[in-house]
Symmetry: D2
Subunit: 367 residues, 4 copies
């Protein structure tokens, strides 16, 4: 089945493998008239680029993006935008060995069964490099959302057992430490924890949190196309995500109605507000006008240098050590991927919401 | 935007409101030749029917299903299957009051903003009754999956703070207690907890777990159409779900690679197995041949009789008490909804997997 | 494969067979706030109802429509609209004979091969009664289009060899003769021709023309989603259509650039006009602001009482005569079906066009 | 709206403009295991390449295709196939003049209204160069169809008033004359006709016919997804197509049931056959096992050097002559585009047909 397209109106299709000629994305349905340059996109790609710190793979890639179509005289034309990054530092021979066995925590075996064989070079289509297309498209979506007064901000909220302290939350800090944590103290502790993991040839899981501000109420649909459902799918489509929650999330299951309900009130300025935001900004699948807040749990990088037991293609039990250029933690580079996926979903649903009311449609066409 | 259709190949579209003439569903893309009767479907609907216990609404509904099309001489014909349940015990006047204000934890305000007005009778399209269509379709999907050797089993794993003990797990028990818990002791504790909630005019959240057995490896797609992503969306599209996790789920974020990786081994019979199932049966977005295990967190029923603060349509701060026929907990009746949604996703992806390999396609058409 | 859904934003899904319990349609994505009653829809259904004249089947059906959901206090709510017509005069035994053989010009054999068996009662899903759902949905789309200043008008332009004379064109005449022709003289000749066909136990083909007025320029997309391409598919999805053309149509292939190009000019009022409309209102897949004009060719009714040669299910050559309640010509009752399909496509594309320009999107959300 | 994707299972998305950096296509959903090289694709692209004869534009382009992803060790992997052709001979300044006015027969004005401005270089997204992506994808689909025993063959059946004589039909001849006509005599006459057009700075329309052999019965769906409807849309999505017909086509409207019905018979070998093929191989929207035969009418090239009246952006009446590098007829180069679009549709529907019958699905998964 096709499976590389996201979105109903602002449609994004990614292509490319870890060790092929490049990675790319087509955006179909981008409105005309958005000023767009390669720099706009590069800024986002640089946040997921390898080699930013000692916690990321040593693979050398500029990830320099090229706009191949859909932009004319500095503005989007309304026709498909094709974006591409060339792979440069692919070293396929690193992978000749892993072609012979099934790595624990990877999808190697699933590929072999599904397709009859697999592109064993660096995870092929399951490589983290596939997310380049998502981030490039996410940069475009984010720029468009800004024009509509909407901002999306993701950050690392936990690395292994180290979690941020909400009291120390400082948005400025996010871009200052290599782990993209909004709490300098937690970031230091997390780095110590990672050093220990690396010494043990091990890896760590972590958590990404995301806050979306400025979304008007009423975005999202009542039944299957709930806004939180679409966010859940988009975030779960990022490799290594094992859990997704919104607002109080898993804790809501241990709560009561009196605790969990967000009542409305009229504040001193006569504005309608919610007392609290246990819902995380979405009720009944529709935005309620408050900040949308969600979290995603990432599993630890499966490629580790410590010895592991598994089987080879000949059906023999073997022990392996996976050397090569792997991140000891996926989370810091995944932050911008989460932000991008959220932006893509929110934009797509904003556009979809324009056809909901006859009064507004008539007004639109009467001008 | 349209938002009432689920699935790419086995496509399900629901319609109907809480207090309209009825609730229904169309299944388009159901393979021809499946024996199907109204009894097959009724069995599933009875598990979500109101009035099963003192923990469910007192609204009286048979929820008797009628097959309107797509079945001829007891078998599906391959054309759209239309299923309908008539609403019988709608008492719209119960709701004349709530038309005037915005209930905390409900989507009332979102509807008003999105559509300009709302069907205020019993939640309209956001009513739990919308899930009748999902369960009716899920019954058909489940029957078809059985023909392919696949079973789906959901149950309540927690009610408020009361969780099942894995050591007491007994599948037979699920259908024996009104809470659909696979642990008789936990079920008793949970009932006591609910009694307390009801006394306080309060409600409780809870957790549903689901196990899918028999899915071959390789189902699901690498990028956006990961099997776990599709499950996440489908489950999150059920009203009141606030969290979704698969396998180790949120805990994976606190784990390490050595702990979390599932190594393969060859067992004494020469069969390939996984040492463990931290992945919950899906790796890289594709099934890995093991049981698929996921959990969903449900928030507490928002309609409670205890006094709550909110605002009315005139923009005044008010205090309300919501009387009427509401479940003190959503979870037990949601169990079969979770099971149905899982069945719909798995079947849809199974069918999609048939076009993945040229060798199998050639074989298919050569006969 | 699913195949009963039309449209991207205004989505229509039909269900039901000729001799099942009924026929219906769900509209998902209809904007909220459209005043809608059963009478609005019935008016359209009456135009395709059987028994209007001696040129239509004698099957007795009121085709009385019921609105089952999606309308509250006389207005659409924005949620799925479910519409249903009960079958009343199904006489399945009429068809016990045709279960045994393959009717020339029908899809009987295709069904048997595709699905393994077929619902042989009156064409099953291929019956003309399937168009009830299309017309019911088309009535809703037409009402909404009227609010946007757009009208759709179809009529019979030829019956067998009898074509209308453009000089006699009279829109008022369309609803006055049983053949829905806008030329009273041609209508009379056509009736004589049909009498002859009926005497010979034969049937006739014909042509439907459709004019859509008021569509602004720029509706439709450049590549695969051209407006004329979408119209072509929608019209070709009506059973018995064998040809579709727009503007000069097939004749354009025999024309030259100098003849076929529609130049622009500024008229005496300073308005931009086209000199001519060879394009039929669509250029480059987008509406150009002029009337959209297309034609569809219908084959003759395949069910005829004259003797025909064919084979039975046992693989024997046989001769048959098909008696029963069949229209000697499909075209007059197809007029409203063509009109409905055109309305569905135009509305869907109008709604889609709202997300094309950033300047208009910003304006939309700033209010 | 997005509009650059075709297909449900074998999904093709094109991108690129006439004078941008290049033109490309992504194929998502191509089964794994198909041997595929750049040569396989180049062969098809060469048939639509400019500069093949004096009847095609003098723009110099190799149209050399590059496979960027989805192929590993010479076989498709089942993941997205990205194909690209770099533009080389774009001379944008040729177009600085046409930026100022609206060319008759072109979509210039529609673009300006739809998007607020346009990429005026060579037709932008409406350029014939957009079909490069279609042909590249069509080459892949055709190769896959061959593995399933299906062939698609298109050719020019008329140029202006010159039509092929069925008695002279010679398939071998198609690739021998620059007009891709299967009748050498007609090809010569057509060339004379074109010389005359060129002398008059005029252009000609024409007709393409296509025969698809080997499609089993039962491909296509009963209601909206009829196989002929999908073909109609795909072919109508090629720029300049104004009419589409299948089998007897427009003539069926002038026919009677006795003439038009295709009866079945058992031939001397005991095989079931159709007496005739008025249906063109599709009945009730499903293939009937016979050759599928359709025709498309193309309008004349709108860009002509003869003087024409139109208006400029300032709203003034002007007279223009369009010089530059334009084909005097679109049809010969469109032949391979028609063939490609037909292959894409047939393959997509073949794959979709695999999920129609439960007996075959069970058999598929039991192996």
């Amino acid at each position: 089945m096709y499976g590389s397209t996201l979105g109903n109106i602002f449609r994004v299709s990614t292509w490319g493998e870890s060790h092929g000629k490049g990675i790319g994305v087509i955006i179909d349905g981008c409105p005309a008239g958005l000023p767009l340059s390669e720099e706009d996109i590069q800024e986002y790609l640089n946040r997921r680029k390898p080699g930013q710190s000692r916690y990321t793979t040593k693979r050398q890639e500029d990830d320099a993006v090229e706009i191949l179509s859909g932009v004319f005289e500095g503005k989007t034309t309304g026709t498909p935008i094709s974006l591409m990054v060339h792979n440069k530092d692919q070293r396929s021979k690193d992978y000749s060995e892993i072609a012979q066995y099934y790595r624990p925590g990877h999808a190697d075996l699933n590929y072999d069964i599904k397709y009859g064989f697999r592109d064993y070079r660096g995870g092929g289509r399951s490589s983290g490099r596939e997310t380049i297309g998502r981030v490039a498209a996410g940069a475009v979506a984010s720029k468009l959302l800004k024009e509509l007064g909407i901002s999306v901000c993701a950050y690392t909220s936990a690395i292994g057992p180290v979690t941020i302290n909400p009291n120390n939350f400082n948005k400025e800090e996010i871009q200052k430490n290599p782990l993209y944590m909004p709490d300098a103290q937690a970031a230091e502790k997390a780095q110590n924890y990672l050093e220990q993991c690396m010494k043990e040839c091990n890896s760590s899981g972590g958590m990404v949190e995301c806050i979306i501000s400025g979304v008007p109420a009423g975005i999202g649909e009542p039944a299957f196309e709930k806004l939180d459902a679409a966010l859940a799918k988009a975030i779960f489509s990022i490799g290594a995500v094992k859990g997704f929650e919104i607002g109080d999330g898993m804790n809501a299951s241990r709560s009561t109605g009196l605790q969990n309900n967000d009542g409305y009130c009229i504040d001193e300025n006569g504005c309608r507000q919610k007392h609290s935001n246990h819902s995380g900004g979405i009720t009944g699948g529709m935005s309620d006008g408050c900040d949308i807040v969600f979290r995603a749990a990432f599993k630890p990088t499966p490629s580790i240098a410590a010895p592991q037991k598994t089987v080879n293609r000949q059906g023999e039990n073997i022990e392996i050590e996976i050397h090569g250029r792997h991140d000891p933690i996926i989370v810091p580079r995944a932050v911008v991927v989460v932000e991008s996926m959220a932006a893509l979903v929110i934009l797509d649903f904003m556009l979809a919401s324009m056809t909901t009311r006859l009064d507004k449609i008539k007004e639109f066409f009467q001008k």
